[in-house]
Symmetry: C2
Subunit: 481 residues, 2 copies
């Protein structure tokens, strides 16, 4: 669609006319623009949101910022050169916005390096069938010559434990439970599946396995392995076995071959390494509150990313959207009553050190955070907000739903807000996570295709506008104590 | 995001545990699955929607169907070989579903052929600066040697008319009003802009212009020209001047150069041609109603596409989603009370002949259509429905909103339904258009990049599920007369 439309504007009412010349009757549909505004004066809040959205859709910097972050800097794993460059670049950009304060907050972060490209194959007789894998973040390396052994497929940690040590010892364990496509919200499918990646190596290591291969957390069938953190917990260094992700197509093929060929063995090789912690930074910018400078509203995302793509969705998008919130307020001349602080957290992916350090310093300084908003679910069309608050304040936020309706923000739910703002524990803090459309998120998550071209400019800008609107409403209305 | 989550299932309540090992406190968020279902029995309607969504997300055929339509057949402009093949292919696929009836409905359609690749450049002294253009659908060709002349830029039909014949005669007219990014819904931006494409050539032709170049209907800056119908109306053949679209980057550059270089002339050449009408078909499949076989519910999209891409979003998606509705009902064993008919309309893009023929035959046969649903806004995440109905029936449909909430369908608005179902005029018919997220639609619309890879499998399936759910509810509840 659409064949032919002509539109004639008459004040704020537009008439949309179907004008296909060969249609006998053209029909006129009265197209009420901003129908909520007809017949009543616009409130200040309605006008403010209108300004915010206009600024975001016509005058935003978030897309070019993301372009630079993704295409000029690239991946930003904690402790990498990319992460260092991103700290300097975003600080410099915040300094151009005319904020009251821009500064770096020191934080020691883990440094894990992938090393050489990983190799994996199944040996069936003399035949080698290769598979696309990548080391999981935090994994140990294989021995230099790689690791080889029989491979057993399981669908869960429970199934592994039920097998017992005798069947697992000396084997490579292949976790192959797919993300469940029945969940409409893909984060729920992720949540029900990711234990294989985060705990698989620890549990198999305790049972004397040689290594672990995990099906990528991806709802799509493709050839890209998706990395992400694996955690050994407190097991001994002898029990720490190498762990890698395999692409979903690879997992399907491997599973099929294992059913067909019982006399096979699996080989993989990776040279990843954990170094000593290094100094890095949270990047912070601030507009001082005009009435309550001691009350702090935080907006943020995480500046670090995994190393395979350039982290455009995870979480370059959240960083530039958070920066954009302050840019929008400056552009429309809105001076917040409470202090508004953007924080670009370092090290969400493999340690949450930035989030924890920020809370530590905040506690030391007796800071009073009234609100925190994180964007870390991709730069897709915003759908709503996930709120951590008591009933009264959840209801307060939900009561703003009608203001958001013209902007297609409909979802106000209780739930997880964000990993980086998780540690914040001011007494009356309300925390919120932006919830974009989640359907495509795991197509890119932690994989080599999480790149700038996968982000749509308008979707990114609409997310920033939704965030700025929520912060504006919090700033104007405050919370119930 | 997300660092690490583990999930433990306990009946229908899941506990989502943050288990980053280095965080002092892990926190538990009770994750209520399908929270609307806790504490009360599920109604039949809730259960039916659950079945429909499960079927769509785990067992659908729409994505492989679209793969074939897009990658094996390709573009399907009315009268083309692609359109013929698509008729045969979709008929064959419908025949595999065990419907009560599958048939073709004859319809004569226009046949317009693009011909050789178009050429355009600006001549500044001896320098030629080339631009990416494409002939608008229905345009006449230029003379074989092309057309060359001074070029004047205007922003609207009004500005053209204000210039007067003296300034327009013998010139090429360049319509360059961009889509307005301030509209949150991109179809509104399209509606406010497309008169340049549909009527520009007619109006400039009346004033004796040599040709028309129109900025592509695209909110993004890129190098792809977007075609679409232009209508000469009833002007004489002498007044019919060639019309082409220019890419948005091209339009920006051309405008800039025209401001800088006054002594320039523009050249373009295209060899498109309109042939005699040819025979084509609407493809129709039917499940007979178990209680009211005489009451008909139609679901459809249009099988034709423009010729530049493969028409995956416009409207391959709508066709396969409509076919999927019947496949879902067959899969879950739901027998509709009213007759359910899928119609894949031919020739939406340049004539709406399929829609008109369908209505003509329906009138002849005294058919009683109670409902029509069209999907022709792309295969993106579904957001809601646009309803053409009286107040009582709009309220009835809106009252189902809570049933759709768990599936993230929130938008129930009055407005345009679909071009192909537009001609239907049964007395009590209610018409609805599926409204997917619109942000990316005009990145692809009528351009060479409207291809299969731009469609996400889950987004497509969720659209089909939303359509099947609405039809199920209409079938169960009927409408107010």
């Amino acid at each position: 669609m659409i064949n032919n439309y002509e539109i004639a504007s008459s004040n704020s009412v537009l008439f949309l006319t179907h004008t296909s010349p060969s249609m006998k009757k053209s029909f006129i549909v009265a197209f009420i623009m901003c129908s909520h505004l007809i017949g009543k004066a616009q409130t200040n809040e309605e006008l403010a949101l209108k300004d915010i959205y206009k600024s975001a859709l016509t005058n935003a910097k978030c897309y070019p910022w993301l372009d630079h972050l993704s295409n000029k800097i690239g991946s930003r794993l904690s402790g990498s050169t990319g992460a260092e460059k991103a700290v300097l670049y975003t600080k410099l950009q915040l300094e151009t916005l005319g904020l009251d304060k821009v500064y770096l907050q020191e934080v020691m972060v883990p440094k894990w390096v992938r090393g050489e490209k990983e190799i994996a194959y199944l040996l069936v007789g003399k035949q080698k069938i290769t598979f696309p894998i990548c080391a999981l973040g935090g994994s140990v390396a294989t021995p230099k010559k790689g690791v080889q052994g029989g491979i057993i497929e399981v669908q869960s940690l429970e199934e592994l434990n039920n097998l017992g040590i005798d069947k697992v010892k000396g084997k490579i364990v292949f976790f192959n439970r797919p993300m469940n496509p029945e969940f409409v919200e893909t984060f729920k499918a992720y949540g029900s599946c990711v234990d294989q990646r985060s705990s698989g190596a620890r549990e198999a290591g305790k049972m004397g396995a040689l290594g672990v291969i995990v099906r990528s957390m991806n709802l799509r069938l493709d050839d890209l392995p998706h990395t992400g953190a694996t955690n050994y917990g407190d097991i001994t260094s002898e029990q720490r076995i190498p762990a890698a992700a395999i692409s979903t197509n690879g997992a399907e093929l491997l599973s099929k071959m294992l059913k067909e060929k019982s006399n096979s063995s699996f080989f993989f090789k990776q040279s990843c390494e954990t170094f000593d912690d290094v100094l890095s930074y949270n990047v912070i910018g601030e507009i001082k509150g005009s009435e309550h400078p001691e009350r702090i509203m935080v907006v943020g995302g995480h500046l670090d990313s995994w190393d395979l793509g350039d982290g455009s969705h995870d979480d370059g998008a959240g960083c530039v959207q958070s920066m954009e919130v302050l840019n929008i307020f400056k552009s429309i001349g809105y001076k917040p009553k409470n202090t508004l602080r953007v924080v670009l957290f370092m090290n969400e992916e493999n340690g949450v050190r930035g989030g924890k350090e920020y809370e530590l310093q905040s506690s030391k300084n007796n800071e009073n955070h009234i609100f925190a908003l994180e964007s870390d679910s991709g730069g897709f069309s915003p759908r709503g907000f996930s709120v951590e608050a008591d009933e009264a304040n959840f209801n307060r936020i939900s009561s703003w739903a009608t203001l958001f309706e013209p902007y297609l923000i409909h979802k106000f739910v209780k739930g997880h807000s964000g990993v980086d703002i998780g540690p914040l524990k001011s007494k009356h803090i309300v925390k919120v996570g932006l919830q974009p459309d989640s359907q495509r998120y795991f197509d890119y998550h932690h994989a080599a295709n999480d790149t700038f071209d996968a982000v749509n400019k308008r979707e990114l800008e609409l997310g920033a506008a939704a965030m700025a609107s929520l912060i504006y409403l919090v700033d104007q209305n405050g919370f119930v104590k």
